[in-house]
């Protein structure tokens, strides 16, 4: 990762496979209690106001975590990919969640039931340490998100969103698919509306910083996009 990529990576999470990080005796117990849930594209995994059933681990696919504002607009806070884990944050404090999670591609998700998870957290200091560190890192990412939404004007938010989605959702070494989410999802990640996003994309295309090809947005000049993102 270059310096530029490292800066961008402060704004999203990229996880190692969960099961590799946990000692095998614990993995064995947890695995026996883990169920597997297929989630279809467009399906809601959970809704605001519920306490999650357990800890969700993404095995495959992409999901979005979002809130809905007073005007009914969706605001995406996180785009999840493989290996990301969610739900545990609310289980630990027994709080209902404040957000929705919806699959934007067909997904495979693993679920560790709440009671099993909480029991194992008490028994296994390795599991506890793992979640402690992970939780701390996630809060660090969230602090960066605050500055993103609180201070950045729309052109910077769009530039940073493109950089982050491009970096997170393309596998290194493979041919880049650019940013391949719907315009609506990209707009909702940037905290803006589709019309404003389109206007920004037009400016960036004219400057030869990005190339729009149907739904895909390819980054032609990462350095200049990074300068616009101003992080």
């Amino acid at each position: 990762m270059g310096k530029l990529e490292e800066e961008v990576s402060n704004y999203y999470r990229d996880e190692h496979p969960f099961w590799d990080k946990i000692p095998s005796p614990i993995t064995k117990i947890l695995r026996a209690q883990t169920s597997f849930i297929p989630v279809k594209k467009g399906e809601n995994l959970f809704n605001e106001g519920f306490i999650p059933k357990g800890v969700y681990i993404i095995r495959q696919g992409i999901l979005k975590l979002f809130v809905i504002d007073a005007a009914g607009r969706e605001q995406i806070i996180f785009m999840f990919k493989k290996n990301e884990i969610f739900g545990y944050q609310n289980i630990i404090t027994e709080n209902s969640n404040l957000y929705f999670v919806t699959a934007i591609t067909d997904c495979e998700v693993e679920l560790i039931e709440k009671d099993v998870f909480l029991t194992m957290m008490k028994e296994s200091s390795e599991l506890n340490d793992y979640f402690m560190k992970k939780f701390g890192e996630e809060l660090n990412t969230m602090v960066h998100k605050i500055i993103f939404f609180a201070q950045k004007p729309v052109n910077e938010r769009v530039a940073l969103t493109l950089l982050a989605l491009n970096q997170k959702f393309n596998e290194p070494g493979k041919k880049s698919k650019g940013v391949y989410f719907s315009r609506k999802d990209v707009a909702n990640c940037s905290g803006t509306i589709i019309e404003t996003l389109s206007r920004q994309l037009k400016i960036l295309s004219k400057e030869k910083i990005v190339k729009v090809d149907g739904r895909n947005i390819f980054i032609l000049d990462k350095e200049r996009l990074f300068k616009i993102a101003n992080i």
Binding site: N10, V67, D69, A70, R73, Q75, I77, Q89, N90, I92, T93, N95, L98, Y99, M121, K122, S125, N128, D129, F131, M132, K133, F135, G136, E137, E138, L139, N140, M142, V143, H144, K145, I146, I147, F149, A150, Q151, K152, G191, N230, I231
Partner: protein
Amino acid sequence: MTEIEKEIANYYLIPELIWDKIPIDTVEKMRENLTVANFKKDEQIYTEGFHPRGLYIVKKGIAKQFLISNEGKEQIIYMLKPGNMFGYRSIVCNNASFLHVTAIQDCEIEIIGKDTFVKYFNESNEIKLFFLNYFGMEFRVLFNKISFFATKPVTERVALTLLILNQKFEIYTNDKNGITFTRTDLACFAGTINETLSRQLTILEKEDIIELRGRAILIKDKERLFKIANI
């Protein structure tokens, strides 16, 4: 707490003293190695890139924890009062801090050295659980802040800022003068600039919702301010 106050409390960290939550013999051992540091108003407690010396607990005074944007603008994440802690996340995640902490009043801070903290952290399940829970609370606060900044215009941000700071600090400061933070700090908390903040304050004063007495801001009509905050 009234319903309104409960809603507002979702947006700040309610101090929870670690000493009340862990076994008394651990408390005594940890406190043997405790140092007390004094910081003058406006003095930096630490800066970005610094490895915190341990767990910091505010004993007296108020400090702000903030990020600095590329343009040098502050974004205040937390206003800390007695009982609030900081520094622990860098230790748990083993990274340098990317936040700054500065005293905005004369402060007395208790510091539990890193080695002591790590030792007892690893030995005591109660301490781990305490911090896991604390992370859970932080998650809720940061998540609420992100969705707030992502979806709310400046009028609502200013209203909520006044409500949060008033509620968090009114009992502690115990004076009838209301909020006495500088205008710059208020703007950096709300994610806006001084001029916009002043304009919003003038509007609120005209509506008889607040009263401006020099630097102090007195909330006269909490109900209406809450309606404007629209949470």
